[in-house]
Amino acid sequence: MKYAYYPGCSLECNAAAYDMSVREVADLLGIRLQEIDDWNCCGATEYFSQDELTATAVIARNLALVDPQLKQVVAPCAACYLNLKKTDRLMAEHADFNQKVNEALAAGGLHYRPGTVQVRHMLDVICDDIGEAAVRDKVVKPLNGLRVAPYYGCQVVRPYPGDENPEYPMKMDHLLSWLGAEVVDYPVKAHCCGGHMTQISEPQAFELIRRLLQSAQDYDADLIVCMCPMCQLNLDGYQGRVNGYFNTEFKLPIVYFTQIMGIAFGLDPKKLGFGKELVAALPVVRAKVNGLAAQAAQ
C-alpha cells in the first residue's frame, strides 16, 4: 500500500523520533510512504485564527502537491493531520472559498479539487488498512508486563472523530493490546495536554499536564504513548517543570506509539529514536517487558 507522506515541521526537529519510528514501522508493515515533494508548514494552530484564507491556501498547497497517482496522504502529527483535513473540508463545503483558495494556488501553477486526496492519520492507516492480523503477525517481542497508557489528545479525535467516540476513543487501546501490552484504561486519555498554553500561561498549562500525569500514575502506568508531537513535548519536556511547580515526583516516559510498536516488532531502539526523550523510556521498557532485560544485558 502506498501513501503520500506529509511529515510536517515537528517531525524534522523535536519529534524526529516520531519520524524515524513511523518510517521504520511503515517499512516493516509494507506501508510505502512517498514524501510530498517540496511540502511546506501546515501553519500549526495559530495561522487559522489570524487569516483563514491565507492559512488554508498555504495548507492546500501541500494537498495540491500530492502525486496524482496517490489518493491518500498520511500525516503523523495531529495538528498537521487536522489542518490538512480541515482544509479539504472547508474547500469542499464552501464553493466560493474553494474558488479563492484555488486562485491563490493558481499563482503557483497549482490546483486542488477538494475530495481528491483523503487525509489519514498514521494510527488509522495501521489499524484500519493493515489490521490486527498483520500487526500481530509482526510482533516478535510481545510487550507482556508493560503497562501502557494510550494518550490520544485532542486533534485526532476532534472535531472529526470518524468512527471513534471522541470522548473515549479506543483505537490505540486496541493496537496496544495487539502488541501484547497491558493497556491502561484511565479516564483522561482524550483530555487536553495544554497545547500552546505553556507559552501563554504556564500555571494553566502545568495544571493540565499534571492531571494527565497524575491519572496515568494513579492507574499504575509504566509509560504513556502519544500520537502528537505537541503532546509529547508538553508531557515529556515540561515534566520536570511540573514536578517543580507542584512539588511532585513524576517520572513517566512519554514516547510515540510507533516507537513502542517498533520495540514489539524487534526493531533496533536507536533506529526508532529512543533516547531523544527527556524522561528515559528504554530502561522502563527493558525492565518491564519479559525477556528484553536479558537481551539488553547481553
Binding site: Y168, P187, Q214
Partner: protein, 682 residues
C-alpha cells in the same frame, strides 16, 4: 354515454386560497376539462353547506362523478364520500385531490402553486371518469382479544376487557406478569408503594375467569386480519408442569445453583437456576433456567425433582406451539433500558459506584438485594454524596433524540428516597427539568425544599482522576453549570445514571409479524399522533403503553384502558367493514404462470391446479396492488387502482407536458403511446 363530472375546489378559508387562485382553478377546470358540467369553488367544502352543495348538484345536475380538491384524503375522504352516498351516488365515484398539504402549504409562488393545483385537478378528473361503483364488505369480529405484554399497560387492557365479559389471551415473555413496574419501589409523585398497587391487579388477572394467561411465552406468528386473526404462540418449556405445580417454592429453596439475576434484579442480586422472578409472581409456577441449571449443563443434580411434592418437574418438556383465534390484538410490549456503556465517559461498567436507574430502583426496594439500603457497590458503605445524571442516552443526537419522559420525575423520586433514607447530599444534573403532569411540578418544589441540589448542565464526564486533595477517592462529576456560567467539579461517592427508555430489541420483528410499523426511533407508530393514539395502520391491532413511546405509569394505564375501549367497541359492533379495494383475476386471461403466487404476504392468492389459473381470495386481500403490477398477462385488476384509472390520472397530471412537450409533427400518428390531449385547448 359521457360522464357528468362535478369539480369542487375548496378555499379552506385562506389555507388554500391564500396560495392558490382557487377561482381560476375552478374556472379553468370547468372550461377545459372534458365532461365537466359543474365546477365551483367554495370557502369550506367540508362544512355542511359545502357538502350540501355537492349533494344538490348530484341531484339537480345529474352528476355521475365528483372531484373535491381540498385537503388530504386522509382527513376528509370519508366526509365527501358520505355526501355523495347521501345524494345517491356510489361513494367510490368521488375522488379527492390534495391541494392543501401537497400544494398550498408547501409552496411559495402563487402562480406555480396554481399550476400544480390545476394538474392535480385534471388528474383527479381524468381518473374519476374511469372509477367504478364499489360496495364495502363486512367481516364478523371474534370477541376474543390477544394482549401482548403483561406490564401495567397490558394488565390494564386485559382487565378492562375481561371485566366487560370478553375473553382475553395474555402473552408475557417473562415467567411472571408485572413488567417493569414490579421492579420499582415507589411511584412518583404520590410515593405509593409500587408493589402494593400492582400486585392486586396481577392476581386479579391471574384468577380471572375470562383471562387465559401464557407466561414465559412469545408470539410466533400472526395471520389473518381484523376480526379473525390466527395467532401461533410459542409456550417456552418451563420444565415445570403447570397443572401439577402448587407454587410451594420448595424447589427454589433447595436448588443449589445461584445465578446473578440480570433481569428482575438488574444484576444487583441473585436468583436460583429454578426460580420465580419475585415473591409475588403470577403465576407462582417457577421455570428452570436451562443455561445455568446443573442438570442441563452438567447432567447432575435433579434436586428440584427430588424435593417436588407433586412430581411437577419435567426435564424433557419441550416448547409448545399453541394456536388461538382472536378478533383484535393489543400490543403492550413496553421498553428496555439504554445500555450505559455506550457513553464510556460516564464510567458505567468501569467505575464501580456508577449505577443505572434500574439498579438504583432495586437498591431502594425493601424487597431488593440490599433490603432497601442505599449503599455503595461494596454492599455496606453508605454514600455521603450522590449525583443523579439526567438524560443519559436521551436528548442526545448521538444516541436518542427523544426525551424519555419519566427520568426527571424518577430522579426526583430517587432524591426524595435518598434524603429520607440517608444523610447523603443529592445532586441532580439536568438539562431541563420536565414536570408537566398533574402534581409533578409540586413534587419538584417539594424536593427543592427538601434540600436536593440542582445543577443545570449536561455532565461532561464522571472520572476518578482527582485534581484536588478533597477529590481523592471520590468520583468527580465534571459539568458546566449553565446557570452560574462556570465549570464545576463535584466530588461524590455514588453516581446514578438516568438511562433512557429504548424500544424493545425485537420490536421491529414483532411489528413485522403484526404488520405495524415503527418510527425512526423504533417505537410503534400510531394511526394518528393526536387523534388516534392507540390504533395502528393495521385494523384490529392497537398499541398501549411505552411500546408506542416513553411514558409513565398513569399514561400507560390510560392507554391500556383506551385500547381496551376501542377493542370493546369493535366487539360490540360485531362486524367491521372491509374496503372493496382488492385485486381480482380474469381467469380467461390468466395463463397460470404462477408469478403472482408467492408475491402476497397474506397468502391471498391460491392456485387452482385443475383449471391452471390463480385466484385471489377476496377476504384475505388487503389491496396493495403488488400482484396487479406483477402480472405479465395483464390478468389481474386492482379495484379502485386499475391500470386504466392510473393511466388516466397520468394523462391528467401531465396535461400541460403533453400540450407543450410533444412535437407537432408527431401528433397525427395513430400510435398507442401518447393519446390525444385529455383536456381541451387551454
Amino acid at each position: 354515454m359521457a360522464e357528468r363530472v362535478g369539480i369542487y375546489v375548496c378555499h379552506c378559508g385562506s389555507n388554500i386560497a391564500g396560495m392558490i387562485d382557487v377561482e381560476e382553478v375552478a374556472r379553468w377546470a370547468g372550461q377545459s376539462i372534458k365532461d365537466v358540467v359543474v365546477s365551483r369553488d367554495y370557502k369550506f367544502m367540508c362544512s355542511s353547506l359545502g357538502q350540501k352543495l355537492i349533494e344538490d348538484d348530484i341531484r339537480e345536475q345529474g352528476l355521475t362523478r365528483v372531484v373535491v380538491a381540498a385537503c388530504s384524503p386522509h382527513l376528509h375522504e370519508k366526509t365527501f364520500r358520505r355526501a355523495c352516498q347521501n345524494a345517491g351516488l356510489n361513494q367510490y365515484l368521488c375522488q379527492m385531490t390534495n391541494i392543501r398539504e401537497h400544494v398550498s402549504w408547501v409552496s411559495t409562488d402563487r402562480q406555480k402553486a396554481t399550476e400544480k393545483a390545476k394538474a392535480l385537478v385534471a388528474a383527479a378528473a381524468e381518473r374519476v371518469k374511469h372509477q367504478r361503483p364499489l360496495e364495502q364488505g363486512f367481516v364478523k369480529v371474534n370477541p376474543a382479544t390477544l394482549v401482548i405484554g403483561g406490564g401495567i399497560a397490558g394488565l390494564q387492557a386485559t382487565l378492562e376487557l375481561a371485566d366487560a365479559g370478553y375473553p382475553v389471551y395474555l402473552v408475557e415473555r417473562e415467567p411472571s406478569i408485572g413488567g417493569h413496574m414490579a421492579q420499582f419501589d415507589k411511584t412518583f409523585p404520590t410515593l405509593d408503594c409500587s408493589a402494593c398497587i400492582l400486585t392486586p391487579k396481577m392476581s386479579e388477572v391471574g384468577q380471572h375467569e375470562n383471562v387465559k394467561m401464557f407466561t414465559y411465552a412469545e408470539v410466533e406468528e400472526v395471520s389473518g386480519s381484523v376480526g379473525c386473526f390466527k395467532v401461533k404462540i410459542r409456550q417456552k418449556a418451563r420444565h415445570v408442569i403447570f397443572e401439577k405445580c402448587t407454587g410451594c417454592g420448595i424447589c427454589v429453596e433447595k436448588c443449589p445453583r445461584k445465578v446473578v439475576d440480570n433481569v428482575f434484579e438488574a444484576g444487583m442480586g441473585y436468583r436460583k437456576a429454578i426460580y420465580t422472578p419475585f415473591p409475588q409472581a403470577v403465576p407462582r409456577t417457577p421455570v428452570i433456567d436451562t443455561a445455568n441449571c446443573t442438570w442441563f449443563t452438567r447432567g447432575k443434580c435433579q434436586v428440584c425433582s427430588k424435593v417436588c411434592p407433586t412430581q411437577a418437574i419435567d426435564y424433557d418438556q419441550k416448547d409448545e406451539i399453541i394456536q388461538i383465534e382472536v378478533g383484535n390484538i393489543i400490543v403492550a410490549t413496553g421498553w428496555k433500558l439504554f445500555d450505559c456503556t455506550r457513553i464510556p465517559q460516564y464510567g458505567y461498567g468501569r467505575l464501580a459506584n456508577v449505577f443505572t436507574n434500574m439498579e438504583f430502583e432495586r437498591m431502594c426496594n425493601a424487597a431488593g438485594p440490599t433490603g432497601g439500603k442505599i449503599v455503595l457497590r461494596d454492599g455496606k458503605t453508605e454514600p455521603r454524596r450522590i449525583a443523579i445524571i439526567h438524560c443519559v442516552g436521551s436528548r442526545d443526537v448521538r444516541h436518542n433524540q427523544y426525551c424519555s419522559a419519566v427520568c426527571c420525575m424518577a430522579a426526583l423520586k430517587f432524591g426524595h428516597l435518598v434524603l429520607e433514607k440517608t444523610k447523603a447530599e443529592v445532586y441532580s444534573f439536568y438539562i431541563d427539568m420536565r414536570t408537566p403532569m398533574k402534581d409533578y411540578e409540586e413534587f419538584y418544589q417539594r424536593l427543592l425544599e427538601e434540600g436536593m441540589h440542582f445543577v443545570r448542565g449536561k455532565v461532561a464526564e464522571v472520572t476518578d482522576a482527582a485534581r484536588l486533595p478533597d477529590e481523592q477517592g471520590s468520583l468527580i462529576v465534571q459539568v458546566e453549570d449553565t446557570l452560574l456560567g462556570t465549570q464545576r467539579r463535584i466530588p461524590v461517592d455514588m453516581v446514578v445514571l438516568m438511562a433512557a427508555l429504548e424500544p424493545q430489541a425485537d420490536a421491529k420483528e414483532l411489528g413485522l409479524k403484526l404488520g405495524i410499523s415503527c418510527s425512526m426511533a423504533g417505537w410503534y407508530t400510531e394511526r394518528h399522533p393526536k387523534l388516534d393514539p392507540v390504533a395502528t395502520m393495521t385494523d384490529g391491532v392497537f398499541v398501549a403503553g411505552a411500546c408506542q413511546g416513553p411514558k409513565d405509569i398513569p399514561a400507560s394505564v390510560a392507554q391500556g384502558a383506551a385500547a381496551a375501549a376501542r377493542v370493546a367497541g369493535m366487539i360490540t359492533a360485531g362486524k367491521v367493514t372491509i374496503e372493496p379495494i382488492i385485486a381480482s383475476i380474469d381467469e380467461q386471461k390468466c395463463s397460470g404462470c404462477r408469478i403472482c403466487n408467492n408475491l402476497c404476504p397474506y397468502n391471498a392468492i391460491e392456485y387452482d391446479e385443475e383449471k391452471g389459473v390463480s385466484r385471489v381470495v377476496a377476504a384475505m386481500c388487503k389491496g396493495c396492488g403488488t400482484c396487479v403490477s406483477a402480472c405479465p398477462a395483464n390478468a389481474i385488476t386492482g379495484a379502485h387502482f386499475s391500470n386504466e384509472q392510473i393511466a388516466a390520472e397520468l394523462e391528467g397530471i401531465l396535461w400541460d407536458a403533453i400540450a407543450d412537450g410533444r412535437p407537432a409533427s408527431a401528433a397525427p400518428d395513430g400510435s398507442k403511446a401518447p393519446q390525444s390531449t385529455p383536456v381541451g385547448a387551454a
